[in-house]
Amino acid sequence: MKALLIGEYREGKLLDSTYELFGFAAQLGAESALLLVGNEAQLPAFGGTLYLADAAVCGEYNPDLHKKLVLEAVQKENPDYIIFVHSSYGWDLAPRVAAALKTAQISEVTAIVSGGFEVGCCNAKMRRTVKQNNNKAVLTIQAGAFPALQPGGTPQLQRLAAEGATTLEFIGYEPAEKKDVDLGKAEVIVSAGRGVGKKDNIPIIAALAKTLGGELGASRPVVDAEWVSHSHQVGTTGQTVSPKLYVACGISGAIQHLAGMKKSDFIVAINKDKDAPIGEVADVLIVADVMQFVPALTAKLA
């Protein structure tokens, strides 16, 4: 079985998530080739075929050219699987490749299981086992779901080039907003989710954070609704944290949030939905109304 892995660069740096592709391919038992649109100064130690195109020419985000490069590598390699990370790069490019090949795509794979691949659904509350109907498949793997693996070795380089008209123009990166709070250093984080109900309830969550000597965190919907500033956001698009204690208040536990906090030493979740996916990572799940429980806990601790 052969796999073509598609790695990822951001602002000239090879992303660590590329090593999760090696970890996945090892579990799959596939012989891997790697495609990178990047630069020769930043290559992973990997003993297989490495198709390399220059990001200075092809851009880091240029789906038209990147699709051409992937298709060229597919033609040379004839892989059974073409594998991306389910990232802003992967979920954007993978369907373009799958459509060009008119082949199956299975998105955000969390596990390899008998009879196919397991993927999350229903806001991560449930799982599906999905299989492809043809002999080639495009896969995107969930970030953080598979262990990173450093294969070692020296790659056999095969250079690829692509050119031609493109339908979009990448103007540049806009840096993340300056953070007024560094959650990475906090020993305790108490985070507010949509379940707190309204902006007026945020101080009640903040009061518990203060009582525990910690910082206030938040899930994405709370930040999007502007109840709390973005610098408090925990998750893939916010900060990744690993405090000694993480208290999730009214947070259902979307994958992007779990990826940002599941390495915390001890996780307490307060949620009225016993089946909420936050329960998958919580050491203690308190099934209760967050606006009744949190003030009672703060009062008892004060």
């Binding site: 951001r10 985000y61 389910h86 990232s87 802003s88 979920w91 954007d92 993978a94 369907p95 799958a98 459509a99 199956a104 795509q105 998105s107 955000e108 993927v119 999350g120 229903c122 806001n123 991560a124 449930m126 599906r128 999905v130 492809q132 109907n133 043809n134 339908t167 979009l168 990448f170 540049g172 990166y173 806009e174 993340a176 020993e187 305790v188 525990l212 000597g213 919907p221 930040v223 999007d224 973005h230 956001q233 698009t237 916010g238 000694k244 204690l245 259902s252 001890f266 089946d275 329960g279 998958e280 990572v281 050491d283 203690v284 799940l285 308190i286 099934v287 429980f293 008892k300 601790l301």
Partner: protein
């Protein structure tokens, strides 16, 4: 200028999901339905553009599914879409993303839409494939996961949301398709007068069989809850007692309470 926004009706995600008789998707009994959250941002952005363009612009909302999806379509009409297409498909949940995208593309093919909006993914299926696949099938410029959108005379400037709070600024020209991320805007609540006005707007029904030409590329073998991680404690009961139990656990298991 012709605009299209594609929406899906999904269950409320707070629902308790149970497998259906075939064990390959959720049972539809006892579910409350709503518009897919990502699509609310897509509708809002499309309506804002339609309002900016004024006379001569036309915004169509499209949804695929059984009759219940008309409720979500009516909401989109009340938010400001001009007219609607309901692709009638009682078995839409059994179609894979390739088939759903193919049906949308078959509908849009000869209708010369300048700009198509979709959510970046659905909350229930979550493949994040349909929007991009529609663009590929129609040969449209496409970018995904946008949290910023501006339109000026045929040029769209978007901000894509990348990991770690970084954004990527991308320009593209119409005809194009964009997939919308949460937080792109603040979706409006339909007002009562607009809900009344929406009742007069046209909803064209098209049978799925007229648009479906493609076989599925994937098969769902099963639908099931995640394997329990084990080790986690679930506490239920009266609040005062829960507080005491949690404090006891924190004292025993963490060094946080001194």
């Amino acid at each position: 200028m012709k605009l299209l926004v594609c929406i899906k009706q999904v269950p409320d995600m707070e629902s308790r999901f149970k497998p259906d008789a075939a064990g390959t998707w959720y049972s539809e009994s006892d579910l409350a339905w709503r518009m897919n959250e990502y699509d609310e941002f897509a509708v809002e952005q499309a309506v804002q553009l339609r309002e900016k363009l004024g006379e001569g612009a036309e915004l169509t909302v499209l949804s695929i599914g059984p009759d219940r999806v008309v409720e979500a379509v009516k909401k989109a009409l009340a938010m400001g879409c001009d007219n609607a297409v309901h692709i009638q498909d009682p078995a839409a949940a059994l179609k894979d993303p390739w088939q759903i995208a193919s049906m949308i593309a078959a509908f849009a093919k000869d209708r010369a839409f300048d700009l198509i909006f979709t959510g970046m993914q659905s909350q229930d299926r979550g493949s994040a494939q349909v929007g991009v696949t529609v663009a590929e099938q129609l040969g449209l410029a496409c970018t995904t996961t946008i949290v910023g959108f501006e339109y000026d005379n045929g040029t769209i400037t978007t901000k894509r949301e990348l990991e770690g709070g970084v954004k990527g600024v991308v320009k593209l020209k119409t005809p194009a398709l964009v997939t919308c991320q949460l937080g792109l805007n603040v979706p409006r609540y339909p007002t009562l007068p607009n809900i009344m006005k929406a009742k007069k707007k046209e909803i064209v029904a098209i049978a799925a069989a007229e648009l479906l030409r493609e076989e599925p590329l994937t098969t769902t073998a099963s639908f099931h809850p995640p394997a329990k991680k084990g080790g986690g404690i679930v506490l239920e009961g009266e609040v005062g007692s829960l507080v005491d139990q949690l404090i006891g656990i924190l004292k025993e298991k963490t060094a946080v309470l001194r």
